[in-house]
């Protein structure tokens, strides 16, 4: 049923696609984490206007399919004549989508930081910026690390949507293999196994990071 020799033959092509998938996921992760953290801070500590704007942004992004967002950005880029490659378009679209989810995760993390930490910093004359950077964010990240780990795993899987606008990532390369070999089952098995390998490794890495970051915890 599953032709392992075919999988071995197709492996270089699939690995080439996997590298592109990981590049998309990494780029989107950077945009999502940085953007989401800034939005999360804004939504938990900003003025009512800032909170409302971020809330609307998150609602729109979370309320529409990522597939539509990628295609929408792709056509927006084409119409406006901005010279963005499909790869860059996919990274930005998936990254912006991720930032909306990360913003809600970070918001929950920031709200979970004990109020006393902020109050202590205030009485010690520490600025709001330093309080957020050095006291609140490290606390918040520890709280939301499992959720951020899930988000990064999701991004790896969501990178396959970049195939819609012609990016030669893992799924798209798999389709090329299928068109040449007509063995969809073996190829999709190989693709699924590669995704599983990456996501399992990523989950384990996040788990180890969680243990490392919580080394100071109560003994």
């Amino acid at each position: 049923m599953i032709d392992f020799s075919l999988i071995l033959q197709a492996l270089p092509t699939l690995l080439r696609g996997l590298i592109v998938s990981l590049e998309i996921a990494f780029g989107a992760l950077c945009i999502g984490m940085i953007g989401g953290t800034i939005l999360g801070i804004g939504q938990s500590l900003g003025s009512p206007l800032v909170r409302a704007i971020i809330g609307i942004y998150a609602a729109i992004i979370r309320g529409t399919p990522m597939l539509i967002q990628i295609v929408f950005l792709y056509y927006l880029v084409s119409v406006t004549g901005i010279g963005l490659s499909p790869f860059a378009t996919a990274v930005i679209a998936i990254g912006l989508n991720s930032s909306a989810y990360v913003s809600q995760i970070m918001r929950a993390g920031i709200l979970a930081v004990p109020r006393g930490q902020r109050e202590a910093a205030k009485t010690l004359g520490i600025s709001s910026r330093d309080t957020i950077l050095y006291i609140m964010l490290p606390h918040a990240v520890r709280v939301v690390l499992p959720a951020l780990g899930n988000e990064s795993v999701t991004l790896v899987k969501d990178s396959s949507l970049a195939s819609l606008i012609g990016v030669m990532e893992l799924y798209k390369e798999g389709q090329v293999v299928i068109s040449l070999t007509y063995d969809a089952l073996s190829t999709y098995c190989a693709i699924a196994a590669l995704y599983l390998l990456v996501t399992t490794t990523l989950s384990f890495a996040v788990y180890r990071l969680e243990i490392f970051l919580n080394r100071h915890a109560h003994h």
């Binding site: 930490q117 202590a120 205030k122 009485t123 010690l124 004359g125 520490i126 606390h139 100071h216």
Partner: protein, 242 residues
């Protein structure tokens, strides 16, 4: 001298502080006592800049205590009920970080100051541990050391014994008394009658956000019946504790 004059504070329409006036000389202790919710902690929070008073003044040697964060931290040090130590920083960093970020110390100067305080509070051997790895008494000593690091002139302590083993109350009283001997203006809010009885200073009984009765602790010990509200408060709480 710290003079609090006619301080009032409303929270959600409720008067939490009702024209509170009191004074604390350098090297002495003001003991705010009263049941939970009478406004003791709010008064400390106003002094520490965590709340803003709706009216009234707080003057230190005739000058208003600035509302600006850095100037405020130079004037007032706060020891919180639950210590509020920075959990993700080591014992040493709990002292050096505020000195560097709050008072502009260099790393070297901050570490020097921190090591002096850690030695003074018998915490030097725990310098690289995290607050979660300290006992209650050690946490409190660290909280006091951190509050003193920026050399404030006023030390506010909110329920200093409530998070500790009752056996530590005497040790805490000695520490507070020592702070007064060192010249600080010490303001303590507590409903721990053992602690109150162990300290020497000016007693202020608070009820419904206002000072209901006040006297010197020595005066009170000589003639308890004259200050019946304070006497009643201390007696009732002893009965409850027993």
């Amino acid at each position: 001298m710290l003079i609090i004059n006619d301080l009032s504070k409303f929270i959600r329409g409720k008067k939490i502080l009702n024209s509170v006036s009191l004074s604390v000389e350098a090297g002495s202790i003001a003991l705010l006592m009263g049941r939970s919710g009478v406004g003791k902690s709010t008064l400390l929070r106003v002094l520490a800049g965590l709340e803003t008073a709706d009216s009234g003044t707080a003057l230190l040697d005739g000058a208003p205590i600035s509302l600006d964060g850095k100037s405020r931290s130079d004037a007032v040090g706060m020891v919180f009920q639950h210590f509020n130590l920075f959990d993700l920083m080591t014992v040493l960093e709990n002292i050096t970080f505020p000195l560097i970020k709050g008072s502009g110390y260099s790393q070297a100067a901050a570490e020097k100051r921190a090591h002096t305080l850690l030695t003074q509070f018998e915490l030097e051997e725990f310098a690289q541990r995290y607050p979660g790895q300290l006992s209650g008494g050690q946490k409190q000593r660290l909280a006091i050391a951190r509050a003193l690091a920026q050399q404030p002139r006023i030390i506010c302590m909110d329920e200093p014994t409530s998070a500790l083993d009752p056996l530590l109350a005497h040790a805490v009283a000695s520490q507070i008394q020592q702070l007064a001997h060192e010249g600080y203006h010490v303001v303590v809010a507590s409903h721990d009658t053992k602690l109150i009885e162990a300290l020497t200073g000016k007693l202020y009984l608070m009820e419904d956000g206002a000072i209901a009765e006040s006297c010197d602790s020595e005066e009170f010990r000589l003639n308890r019946s004259r200050f019946w509200k304070i006497s009643e408060f201390l007696r009732k709480d002893h009965t409850t504790a027993a």
